[in-house]
Every structure is written in C-alpha cells, then in structure tokens.
C-alpha cells in the first residue's frame, strides 16, 4: 500500500462526523467602507515600521517617490501593489507584476505603489481579491523584522530594511 492510500484510508476509518463550514464573516460596519481607511492603513503601517503617503495632486509620481525615499533612492526597488488592507497595513503583490519573486524580499529598500482606490477594510475582503490564477502572491506589511533577541524589535532582519507605500491617485 502506498503512503497516500494508507493515510487516506486511516482518515476514512476515523469517520469524523460532518461539521459545517465556517460562518462567513464580514468586517463590522464601523470600518467597512469608511472614508478613513487610508488613514487607518497609514497609522498601522507606522506601527509595523513602514512609511506611506498619498500622492498629492500637484506631485508627479517621481516627485512623490523622491520625497518619500530621500537618500534611500539607491538600492530601492519599486513594485506594483494590487490593493491594500486597512486593518493590517498589508499590500498585496502578485508575482505576475515582478521581474523576479525575490524582488519582494531582496532589495534593501522596497517601495509599493498602490492605486488609491484599491483598498479593503480587512483580510476577509482581501483574500477574495487574490487573482484566481496567481502563481505566487504576498501580503506585505512593513519591512522585514525580528524580535528573536530578547524581544527587542530590530527592523531589517533577512529581508528589506525599509518598506514604503505610495497611494497613487489615478
């Protein structure tokens, strides 16, 4: 008997009674669709060690990038984020938009450019926006970090040292 057959056989033999699917959860009305979602996103992003801005109408994207990056322009990689999640400052990046998958983790400085309108309140809405045929996708929330040494937060563990988000108004 193969391992596969043995394991599936043992599962059948366990005869677990049916259990209904998890109840569908939606975000509470207080945060869903709130006009303050960008504010919430930027606040949470600050708490996870990132920085973000909304591009002003009088700025070009280049100007906004220059203002946000400062001296970190060298070594910065700019990638497209598909959408953002207000509750946890995560931005969804899909491998289809990258030259290499390591681009989300290898650069010293990572910049995510996200369309202003592409914002959902929580992960419940976010997982539904993941492309059905995605080969690889990420929710990125702030830069790489570790607290493995006496719980002292150190930003820039193995991945990017900084992570910045620009909301781009179309």
């Amino acid at each position: 008997m193969t391992a596969r057959d043995a394991i599936l056989g043992a599962i059948r033999a366990a005869a677990v009674p049916p259990a209904s699917a998890a109840p569908a959860l939606t975000a509470p009305a207080a945060t869903a669709g709130s006009p303050d979602m960008h504010e919430e996103f930027l606040r949470v992003l600050g708490t996870v060690g990132g920085r973000g801005v909304v591009r002003r109408a009088d700025q070009s994207l280049d100007q906004a990038l220059a203002a946000l990056l400062g001296d970190d322009r060298d070594g910065a990689v700019i990638v497209r984020g598909r959408f953002a999640v207000a509750e946890n400052a995560a931005v969804y990046v899909d491998a289809a938009d990258l030259e290499a998958r390591t681009q989300v983790v290898l650069p010293e400085h990572l910049v995510l450019v996200v369309p202003f309108d592409a914002m959902v309140p929580t992960m419940h809405e976010a997982v539904r926006l993941m492309p059905a045929t995605s080969a690889c996708g990420w929710f990125l929330s702030g830069p790489s970090k570790t607290a493995d040494i006496e719980q002292a937060l150190v930003v820039g563990a193995q991945g990017s040292r900084t992570l910045r988000v620009i909301f781009d108004v179309a």
Binding site: A3, A6, I7, L8, A10, I11, R12, A13, A14, V16, P17, A19, S20, A21, A22, P23, A24, L25, P28, A30, V48, E87, N88, A90, A100, R101, T102, V104, V105, L106, M123, H124, E125, A126, V127, R128, M130, A132, S134, A135, C136, G137, W138, F139, L140, S141, G142, S144, K145, T146, A147, D148, I149, E150, Q151, V154, G156, A157, Q158, G159
Partner: protein, 457 residues
C-alpha cells in the same frame, strides 16, 4: 525524558532571577496579544477559526485530495509520508535527486518533530536554519524552547558570546541591532547560496493548491525564491478548505502569536517559478490516530501560534525544556501524551487548570478539558506519576464524603498546631522547600466559625 516535568522545572527555577526574567518576557508577549486582539469581532473570529478547522477535519481526506489535484495541476509534486522516517527519506530523496547539498530551512515545527536536521546532516547535507531564533539554538546545538520564539531563553549577552565564537562578531557585543545585523549578513549568504530551500506551512489551501508561509524576517521567501528546489513539509492537519478560511486564519494567527495585525511576509505560493521545482510533503506521523480519537481530536486544530505558552503560568515559570517534547506548553502537554503517554506522564499535570490557555486559543481548543482527560487516561492506564495514585485514592475518600472531609480537617488543623514548625518545614516538604512558609493552622474550619457566629442555618 521519563516523566520529569516537576524535576526539570525545579532545575529551571533554581536560578530565580532568570526564571523571573523568563516569566516577564512571556508575559510581555501575552500583553501584546491582548492589545492586538482588542477587536469588536474577536470572539466571532475565534468561533470562525474553530469552525473552519472542525470543518476541514471533517472533510480531511477530500480536502487533501483536492489540494493534491490543484497543486499537481500547478506543477507542484505532492508526496505523502506516513511517519517521520518516511518524511525524512522523501526529503532526502528529493535533495539527492536535485544534487542539493546546501539547504536553507525556514521555521518548521514538523521538521523538528521528524528530526530532519540530524538525519540530513548524517547524509552529508548541510542545513542552515534561517530564522534568527532558530539559528541561535542551532548554533548552540539545542532544540527550540518555544514554538514561535525558539531562543526565548537566551539572553543577549549570551547570544553575543555565541555569535563571537561562531560568526566572529566583536567580543562583548550584545546590542540586538548589531547582533541581528551580523546574523542578517550570515543568513543572507546561506539563503542566497543554498541549492534547496525547505519551509513549513502555516496552511495549505485546498481550493487554490497554495502553500501559505508566514514570516517576519523574510527568510522563507529569500530561500524559496532563490533556490532551484523548494520543499514544503506540511502536517496533513494544516489543510483548510477555501480562501475565505485563509482570511480568517490570517486575522487570528499573528495577533495571537506576536501581537501583530499580520506578519510582515504572508506568502501564498501555488506554482514553482519557471526553471525551478516545488515539492509538498504531506505528513501523517500520528495525526490520523488523533483524528480517530473524538475526545482529543480538536488538538489537531492548533495553528501553532504559541499564545497558550505565553499565557501559561506553568510554562512561563518552568521553561520550554521542562516539557521534554518538541511542542511545549499547554498544547504540548496535550499533544505529547498521544505520542507516548507513559513517557510524558507528567505533562497533563504540568498545569493548574486555570483555563487561560483555552481562553486565549484562537481556534478555541478546550486545552484544559483535554489536560483533564489525559489525567483520567493516565490513571486508567496505570501510568500516573509515582505517588499520585496513592494521593488521589486518599483525596477521593476525603473529598467524596462530607463527614470524612470535616474529620480530616479537624485532625489536620490539630496536627499542624502540635507538630513542631521546624519539622513541618523540613526538606521533605516541597511547599516550604521553595522558600514559602506554612501559615499557622486555624483552630476551626470556616463552617465551624460560621456556625459559632450563628450565621449558618
């Protein structure tokens, strides 16, 4: 490890300042978790977490087959392994087939459970654990002492000394920033030059065929997207049905584990990148036996967040190694007896049954109920820790009769007032041995004093 939680805990507690420091470190994590879970919908999220796991367990075979179909269609090779030995030989086979000799591994409790590292090293394969905490304990030739924070028991000065010896950092350097920077250099090198990457999985999604890996350091991503071969080692209980379920899981996992709203990197990978290979090894190793055990089944819901460790007054004051099992704390104390009840006989008793573990569990595993159930099974199997059977038999007679209880109390109070204090607090008494004093016994019971005051009808 032969039934030794109390003995190991006593050793841990001998260094009182260090034990207090350990306790504080974990309570800090518990408080972070409390702040992060202060959401109006938190309790319904826990209910949804419990439901999605119960649902997945009730359709486990079907979901694993769906995952396998999806993943195979996506170009992933799916393997199955009945036990640790089979898992290890499958992984070795993949590595040898790919000619890989240098492995960068990210955090995986399953590979700890299976003893993968020593097995691969014995076959001439170099394995570098790339999570900083795991690298610390690997360099020190120790197992993790906490499932989420493997080196929680290490002080920064000791890590400085370890890194000085192993990575050549400056003598006496102990700032977390400097040590983490040295580790970044050292680990990036290992990650980018490995010819295979091994990761665990926080979940696999039947609907998408995707493997979900959560890290804060980014080490799993650096490894799996650089190396020509990625192997994900996954316990079969990690499968969930849908992306909707993933949404719930991702909302509860990091909040419970580290008090973050989500991890820095949450990767959902369904296909290898062009030119690379991806393998998933689905491992049983006792999980189907647990599935068949209705009373203990829900322990399979565990998402390894570590919240029950951080909150447990016994874990915080006894340390991970006192459990003598790959998974520590309250969840370890209900998982280990299923592996070997006799060897882990002391673990169901390594709890005050205060219930805090059950209260913080994001998937509502009733850990206290299972601890109690393991105690009953231990009694039935005759594997109670030595002395417990006699004590429980006596206690049972005292507590099951009001007359016996009142009489024993009366004799006990009298005896405690007559026996010399020096003898009562002698070496034989574990209560006073750890520095506590016995209070003077009262002359009457609560019931007696209430009756004397005329307040008892």
């Amino acid at each position: 490890m032969n039934g030794g939680h109390p003995e190991a805990a006593a050793t841990f507690l001998r260094d009182a300042p260090r034990a207090a420091w350990h306790d504080d470190s974990l309570w800090f994590m518990r408080e972070r978790r409390d702040r992060a879970t202060a959401l109006p919908e938190w309790e319904s999220l826990r209910t949804a977490g419990a439901a999605l796991k119960a649902h997945a367990m009730s359709r486990l075979g079907e979901l694993l087959e769906q995952f396998e179909r999806q993943a195979t269609a996506n170009g992933v090779t799916v393997h199955w392994a009945r036990d640790a030995a089979e898992h290890n030989s499958v992984v070795l086979g993949i590595l040898q087939g790919a000619g890989a000799t240098r492995v960068a591994k990210s955090k995986s409790m399953l590979t700890e459970e299976c003893g993968l590292n020593p097995f691969l090293e014995a076959s001439g394969i170099e394995v570098v654990d790339t999570d900083l905490g795991e690298r610390i304990v690997q360099l020190a030739h120790e197992p993790p002492s906490h499932i989420v924070i493997p080196a929680i028991h290490w002080k920064k000065e000791e890590i400085g000394e370890l890194f000085h010896r192993t990575m050549g950092t400056a003598k006496g350097e102990s700032s977390p920033d400097a040590l983490a920077a040295a580790a970044r250099h050292h680990l990036r090198d290992a990650l980018l030059h490995a010819n295979a990457a091994i990761t665990g999985a926080n979940a696999i999604v039947a609907e998408t065929g995707g493997v979900v890996v959560c890290t804060n350091e980014g080490n799993a991503d650096l490894g799996m997207h650089s190396a020509p071969v990625h192997i994900a080692c996954v316990g079969i209980e990690k499968v969930i049905a849908t992306r909707d379920d993933l949404g719930v899981l991702l909302r509860i996992l990091a909040r419970s584990a580290t008090g973050q709203p989500v991890t820095a990197y949450t990767t959902h990978v369904t296909s290898p990148r062009p030119g690379a290979a991806m393998h998933v090894v689905l491992v049983d190793n006792g999980r189907t036996a647990r599935l068949a055990d209705a009373e203990m089944r829900s322990a399979l819901h565990c998402i390894r967040c570590g919240a029950c460790l951080n909150t447990c007054p016994v874990y915080r004051r006894s340390g991970g190694y006192s459990y003598g099992h790959v998974i520590q704390g309250p969840i370890g104390a209900i998982l280990a007896p299923a592996v070997d009840l006799s060897a882990h006989r002391s673990l169901p008793f390594a709890s005050t049954l205060c219930g805090s573990c059950g209260d913080v569990c994001p998937v509502r595993i009733d850990i206290p109920a299972q601890l109690l159930a393991w105690r009953s099974r231990s009694a039935a199997a005759g594997t109670l820790p030595s002395g417990y059977a006699t004590i429980f038999a006596l206690l049972g007679r005292v507590l099951s009769s009001q007359g016996n209880f009142a009489r024993t109390g009366r004799w006990g109070r009298r005896a405690l007032r007559w026996i010399p204090a020096a003898w009562l607090s002698g070496r034989w008494n574990p209560w006073t041995r750890s520095g506590r004093e016995l209070p003077l016994a009262p002359t009457e019971s609560f019931r007696e004093s209430m009756r004397r005051e005329g307040r008892l009808p």
